[in-house]
């Protein structure tokens, strides 16, 4: 029973962190959708507000995650989560380093968001700080979980994998907002260019993903018979369905924008995509916490 509670807290806090990571990427790469036009200042403020709120939440949850991991390790109830000896061990381990780096990355993002960008220099500074934050957060993934025991290539691929994920999932909310804010011409242009970038980024994501699956699972047999493999297959099924949605956007819904129609349909479809993205992140949180390749 105790482990169920700790595992639930660990998985939930990971989900919140993943979404926070995607929010930062969304803000870093897609805030200019609204910033270049004065008439969208409400959208700019809304985007900033939700991103900031969410990152602060991710920071609090990151601390919760560290204590929950300690509690799960000690298995001594709430007392175990604040046991000085176990805390010292956890802090010294990759869990502590991961929690520290994630806190550092999130704080960097919070500071970057607080920067006012009246001067052009500030704008560069802000963008660099946000990129730095994303890199720190992406690097933290290589310390935790099964990849940490693999080689440098795999770690590099994992960084690429999580960055592309964050870029893509982070884009969804700004793009959905754009469906309601931009003119048809602007929206079509935006979606076209996003579609092009996404095709390239997703090819990278898939190659990285395939390679990591091979490294982690090792054989088709293990993929089908182990609980880790099965969960991974479930995640892959979700990924296939989100790719199908993305293809539907690119091939059917976006071309319709040219004829000044279909913004509602696109917005609705992006909402569905966000639900699937959330499901993927949830499965991943479980996959990296509860089920292991060797289990």
């Amino acid at each position: 029973m105790e482990m169920y509670i700790w595992n639930t807290v660990i998985v939930l806090s990971k989900i919140v962190f993943y979404v926070g990571f995607a929010c930062i990427a969304g803000y870093t790469f897609f805030r200019q959708i609204f910033e270049h036009n004065e008439s969208h200042s409400n959208a700019v403020i809304a985007h900033l507000t939700w991103t900031r709120t969410y990152i602060v939440m991710a920071l609090i949850v990151n601390i919760t995650w560290f204590f929950a991991s300690t509690g799960a390790m000690a298995e001594e109830g709430i007392q175990g989560a604040i046991d000085a000896d176990i805390l010292a061990i956890m802090w010294d381990s990759s869990v502590g380093t991961g929690a520290l780096l994630r806190a550092l990355g999130l704080v960097t993002a919070i500071i970057a968001l607080a920067l006012r960008f009246k001067l052009a220099v500030n704008s560069y500074l802000k963008q660099s700080a946000l990129m730095l934050s994303l890199l720190i957060l992406a690097y933290s993934f290589t310390l935790l979980g099964h990849i940490s025991e693999l080689g440098t290539i795999e770690k590099g691929l994992l960084i690429l994998h999580v960055l592309v994920m964050a870029w893509w999932f982070g884009a969804l909310l700004p793009l959905k907002q754009a469906c309601h804010q931009l003119s048809y011409a602007e929206l079509h242009l935006l979606m076209e260019s996003f579609g092009k970038q996404a095709s390239f980024a997703l090819s990278l994501l898939l190659v990285a993903c395939l390679w990591l699956v091979i490294q982690l699972v090792g054989s088709l047999d293990a993929l089908i018979s182990s609980s880790y493999g099965q969960t991974l297959l479930f995640k892959l099924a979700l990924v296939v369905s989100i790719l199908a949605l993305a293809a539907k956007h690119k091939l059917i819904l976006v071309p319709q924008l040219k004829n000044s129609q279909g913004r509602e349909a696109l917005s609705k479809s992006i909402s569905i995509e966000m639900v699937v993205a959330f499901a993927i992140l949830s499965v991943t949180a479980g996959l990296t916490s509860v089920v292991g390749p060797a289990n």
Binding site: S69, A72, M73, A74, E75, D85, I86, A88, I89, M90, D92, S93, S94, V95, G98, L143, L144, G145, H146, I147, S148, E149, L150, I214, Q215, L216, V217, G218, S219, L220, D221, A222, G292, P293, A294
Partner: protein, 115 residues
């Protein structure tokens, strides 16, 4: 589709040697299921990779914990040894919780008998 299956099969064979395995308890003294004619002097644990040992409990059949001076430490190692007190003839169970380099919690358990 056939080519894809072929490709996947080849890839899976090529990489099957790289099957990922978590760190595990490789050897213990006393060994699992050991029947000891005399009192064991120490408890030794050897792991497949470096770990941090978080918890070790030694219990007799009635579930009574026997203290033997284990204290969790930050130290990482592949081998750990503790002196054991004199054990009365009985069945004993050792539960080990340890932390691998990847930050995952691992557990193992083994039993021995003192005659």
């Amino acid at each position: 589709m056939k080519t894809l299956i072929k490709l996947l099969t080849v890839i899976s064979i090529v990489f099957s040697s790289a099957v990922f395995a978590h760190v595990h308890l490789e050897k213990s003294v006393p060994a699992d299921n050991a029947m000891l004619m005399k009192n064991p002097e120490e408890l030794k644990l050897a792991f497949s990779k470096e770990v941090r040992v978080v918890k070790v409990t030694l219990k007799n059949k009635q579930g009574k914990k026997i203290k033997f001076g284990f204290k969790p430490t930050k130290e990482t190692n592949t081998e750990f040894t503790w002196k054991l007190p004199k054990l009365a003839p009985a069945n004993y169970v050792v539960d080990v919780t340890f932390l691998g380099k990847d930050g995952h919690k691992m557990k193992d358990s083994f039993g021995f008998m003192v005659h």
